[in-house]
């Protein structure tokens, strides 16, 4: 587990101010790191937790990649939405990188390879995964361009579909984080919050 992030220490003398950073008086040691005297049982449990963490990161990365593909497909079908969608897509890309940055997200790391080049996704879970925002099939088009299949032709419907996908992903992450390891839970909560904010913006624009 990575060490906790550095505390936001106040710069000058401490004043009672509205939004001062608070020094971390504790090191929020992830629960997984607290095992000391390991019996075989402890080691096995620890290994199981590490596996579960990797799987959840991989699933989260896949879900974010699926959202990324939706953004690309929607942008291809509705270029006039670029002003709204491009920043949201960029944030989604950062989410993918955050879930894969220790090389544990599967599918070869950061999302240089989105649906843009039509690269097949051999390691995808079968369709019908319970809580991912699966795009419609053939959202990745022939080589050279993202497909637009599955994106509603009408602008507002396309935005609503994206918003629904973001909301579904956010809800899934919110469920998953409850039992995740601490650092991943924090990341999932943030990404879920970002997704909810995206859904809000997409809904407002429709």
């Amino acid at each position: 587990m990575p060490p906790t992030t550095p505390p936001r220490a106040p710069a000058g003398p401490r004043r009672r101010s509205l939004l001062a950073g608070v020094p971390a008086l504790f090191a929020a040691a992830p629960a997984a790191a607290l095992a000391t005297a390991c019996s075989d049982g402890d080691a096995a449990a620890e290994a199981a937790r590490a596996r579960a963490d990797r799987r959840l990161r991989a699933r989260s990365a896949r879900d974010s990649r699926a959202l990324l593909e939706r953004y690309d497909a929607t942008l291809a079908a509705h270029p006039g939405l670029a002003g709204l969608l491009t920043p949201l897509r960029a944030e989604t890309d950062r989410h993918v990188r955050a879930f894969t940055e220790r090389g544990e997200g599967g599918e070869g790391g950061a999302s240089g390879d989105t649906g843009r080049d039509g690269e097949p996704r051999g390691t995808r879970e079968p369709p019908g995964s319970p809580d991912g925002p699966r795009p419609e099939p053939s959202a990745g088009g022939p080589s050279g361009s993202p497909g637009t299949a599955g994106v509603p032709a009408e602008r507002d419907a396309a935005l609503a579909a994206l918003a629904r996908a973001e909301r579904r992903a956010a809800d899934a992450r919110t469920r998953a984080l409850v039992t995740a390891d601490p650092e991943l839970a924090r990341l999932l909560a943030s990404v879920a919050a970002a997704g909810a904010a995206h859904a809000y913006l997409l809904t407002e624009a429709a």
Binding site: P87, S190, A197
Partner: protein, 173 residues
């Protein structure tokens, strides 16, 4: 409520205290909500008529969160940190635009403490903290007009030049 600017120190918990980190993270969240309640009072005083209702809703929501955290600290065996009588604002708030910026800033900071509380907590406390983070992120976007990639994560700031707020704050505000 004390008139001094210094909060009363919170007593060490007595029997069966919660792990120090979750109690501490909860106190920090409470501290941030006290500041948010105060800050939204300022927002309400300066915000334009068109957003007054929104400001009131934000104010109410943060009061409710503050009260819930107050109870939660007690449940954990701690002494809830009181609000200060007043807080220094991070920047002057002379008009409606500044008031909206202040509201966004308040939500960003609240998001930060809830992200940390998610990490420190488990079960229902974690679930609630995640919900509070989500609400803060959506409110921040409403006030600011644009989103950020990682609400609440100071170590993952928006890229320079983007419309996101300058978080990651060592800034003494």
């Amino acid at each position: 409520m004390t008139t001094s600017a210094r909060p009363a120190p919170h007593a060490a918990p007595a029997a069966a205290p919660a792990p120090a980190d979750v109690l501490d993270a909860t106190q920090r969240a409470l501290r941030a909500e006290h500041a948010a309640v105060y800050g939204y009072g300022v927002v309400g005083g300066r915000i334009g008529e068109d957003r007054r209702k929104e400001a009131r809703e934000g104010h109410d929501a943060h009061r409710a969160r503050r009260d819930a955290l107050h109870r939660r600290v007690r449940d954990l065996g701690g002494e809830p940190e009181p609000s200060a009588a007043a807080y220094a604002l991070p920047f002057p708030v002379p008009d409606a635009d500044a008031a909206a910026r202040l509201a966004a800033e308040l939500e960003d900071r609240v998001a930060g403490v809830y992200a940390d509380l998610v990490r420190a907590a488990t079960g229902d406390t974690r679930r609630e903290a995640a919900g509070a983070l989500r609400e803060a992120a959506v409110r921040a976007v409403r006030w600011r007009g644009g989103s950020v990639a990682f609400p609440g994560l100071a170590e993952r700031p928006a890229p320079a030049g983007s419309p996101g707020p300058a978080t990651g704050g060592a800034s003494e505000l």
